[in-house]
């Protein structure tokens, strides 16, 4: 039998010498039950920035079993006031379920319509692929959500970091014109994003 025979799955070999926008498969003989299960039970540390939130990812880079299966998950912890800031996923639609707390979920369409709602535990949301969205803990204590994606590595374009924190830095002349503010405003924001 060919060592990769079934193609039912393709557990990623993250140490492979090559990558093909995806990963080679681990030989089936080295795959065990543990490959298909992953622990997202541990609360993330949220107080590392003013955003007061934390993402723990189960995508192909951390959970190799999802390689080529078109699926991934995240655990999102929010401290009080915690914000998963405006971002988009270039390669996936997203759904999510609130497990704890009160979470404001919002997104904006390409027509600039903003849709939002405060969700309670057990309520779910869907974000169409590529649209800008955020979640903010608007309850009193911590909040928790699990999110799912239809890609094994959805990627995330975090707007503030993309615009104001890239390496090298996006030129001020582009940002002042795009956002209609002075250089000084851009410089102030950039300084907060290490750019």
């Amino acid at each position: 039998m060919h060592p990769y025979q079934s193609m039912d799955f393709c557990v990623a070999d993250l140490n492979a010498a090559i990558s093909i926008n995806g990963f080679p498969c681990k030989p089936a003989s080295k795959v065990s039950a543990n490959d298909f299960f992953f622990d997202l039970s541990k609360e993330g540390v949220t107080n590392t920035s003013n955003l007061n939130f934390s993402i723990t990812s189960a995508n192909v880079l951390t959970f190799p079993a999802v390689n080529t299966l078109g699926i991934a998950m995240n655990r999102v912890d929010y401290g009080p006031g915690g914000l998963n800031p405006p971002h988009s996923h270039p390669r996936a639609s997203e759904s999510g379920v609130i497990i704890k707390g009160r979470v404001l979920v919002g997104f904006v369409t390409t027509q600039n319509v903003y849709y939002s709602k405060v969700l309670k535990p057990g309520e779910i949301f869907v974000i169409p692929r590529g649209l800008v969205h955020f979640q903010k803990n608007v309850g009193k204590g911590k909040a928790l959500a699990y999110t799912s994606f239809n890609s094994h590595l959805p990627g995330a374009v975090i707007l503030a970091n993309t615009i104001f924190g890239s390496q090298p830095s996006m030129p001020n002349e582009v940002l002042t014109q795009a956002f209609r503010v002075e250089d000084s405003v851009i410089n102030t924001i950039k300084s907060k994003f290490g750019s």
Copy 2:
């Protein structure tokens, strides 16, 4: 502006006169924030059969916003001993997170390898597309999971019902030969599945 202009999403119009393995879009002018959120907070009634479990679905038929987005979710409630019986999804890979209880998750590959693990809250699993799998509550109380799919209507082939409960009934001569049992065994099982 064209009433369906953005194509960011395509909220299903379930009352449309036609269907195209998917649904026509509701006009954008009739779409509101509520379309993109869905309530899976209500515990399902599990004691309606010996399986002692319940599925509440958020797919295109109940949550029209996922139309064409390639994503859907389910809430799965398990009473004590509850079983989401062996089944496969013809059109999706699946991931799931355990929220409450102890849940045995198992699946079988096309090479007849059985992979399984007992999961605790916060642990997740992945099921490659089309493979037979089940979850069983092996803890003391109730259990709860949320599952996600990369299709807006993954479908479910529930093996026992498919084999022994179809309408009309699959012929006994096929089933006795396939499962290597007598007619009487087939008839006994069929009688329990209303066939």
Copy 3:
């Protein structure tokens, strides 16, 4: 010219050191006409089990030319009474043509509707992706069919083997609850499938 230049095809190199749910390509310089043709003329040996049938596969593992082309074929031989037992293909829709004999073809939808017909030579069938189906020789002599798939490796979930013959074995407590039979029935069937 790059050795893999055209991408018209990608004949699988089954001996490659890696696999990526598909196979690397053989260099174009080593591809010859013979790669694109395959012999399914030889009648399979059908009397190796009570099922009295045989599958000869032309998929990427045996016919490397179909690698990445999204197509595969099988030859199916049926002895008298032969049964291609209930199974599903996790990664493909199927069509098939009867060449010899009388063959009962049946499948069951996710709504538990059973569709079937006895086919004669030259008649064809289609099985939607992922649904459970079977073919049984209901004529007097041998039967023969050629089947086609829209995947280079459709895979097969053979229900009886999946449920009763996996390694390790699916737990009895799951099977008795799912199929509503006693342990003894499960044990009897499992013993016939080597589990």
Copy 4:
């Protein structure tokens, strides 16, 4: 239950008021077993042109069950010397099995490499998507093949008709330059293709 609920299949409603590069689905309540089976047992009439061959198609236009399933079949009959002339399928890879006769199967890659073989009954071929190919009966009597495609409507670009028989006609100045022949040669060929 929604009339189109399962999405296991989407039998085409060829009389629908609209088309969407595919067809709307027949309501599930009007689908019967016969929808999924099709008769390709009848030998085609081959002597209607000098090509001495005949195609009988089971694609979405004749066999509505394949709608959205990504699969279609053809029956190809060849009289003595019959030729399925050089053509390509813009939307599908193809496989085929010879049932009767001796058939020369050839195709040309985008690198202008010609691969061919004379096939006997039970032998199969594969044609990568979009490449030019033909089959010619090189045996003494009739020949028969069944071909399969990974599209519900693969389409066919028949080269001679496309180049010399379109309506309106492709300009001579294009054809003389492309094929490096005089107007008179082009006119002679065009006259045979009704252009």
Copy 5:
């Protein structure tokens, strides 16, 4: 012949009563050569905002022939200093060719790496799907580019408008936290985007 028979194309019927994230096809009998050609020769009016640029789109909404073909184009005119401001396309990769002027093209990856170059006429760029990018006329006179997409309606998330100009407005508490600025800065920017 079925009025929509070939499926070679599916010219959109923008006035159809329904939409399916795409459009129904115009009957083939009403399709003419003009459907497949579109005029992007007219220079856009660029001085309507401080951005001093203009987009003329040939997507499914303006050029119905691209419906279902997975392709679209834009003409982009830039006045002196003109900026196609930072944006992303949720449903397409993009390529573009500069025809006139000197244009700075930049994009940022999900790893926050900024790649950029000043392009001259005849030079091309590629933007991976979903990533934030911009073009700025850095030459002395006008500039012109043609861009292409692998979607019939790629959509555009224009960051400044999405963040500061949506209807209704994204909450200040989200924006101050995400961008680490005071309410007053947010309000100033919002006022410029009509929110």
Copy 6:
């Protein structure tokens, strides 16, 4: 961080030991801005054959950044009377914009309908996937077009070369029957295509 971590892009490593109908990715650490830009500013040499045209390609083989992004471009130069001869792309739809000259663009559907138009600078065309098409410079001087594809390697089946210039040669008995001409005509044309 994994060397291939983001999957935003996958710049091809054309020197990799393997190919998988696409190419492995260059490590992200070796990717620079220059990878994403390409020079198509140089006029091609058109007078190398009677066709008097030239293609300069920016596909995965020359512009590795487009690997897996589903996009490619060509520069097409036409001398006076230059012809991009009838051909089809097996793996892509195409759009194109005329930059200089007067260019007749024509294509033929699978129903043998010929659509054409003479385009001026700034006008665009679209060719549905897999259909035969050509462009001919019908103006007085040189002409120039940029074309785009929704594949990183669309491939080209150039009809005259495919039919009359393959190696080995397509048999005369096939060609005389398909095109309804004498052997002498076939031999004359073949001699011009080196076959």
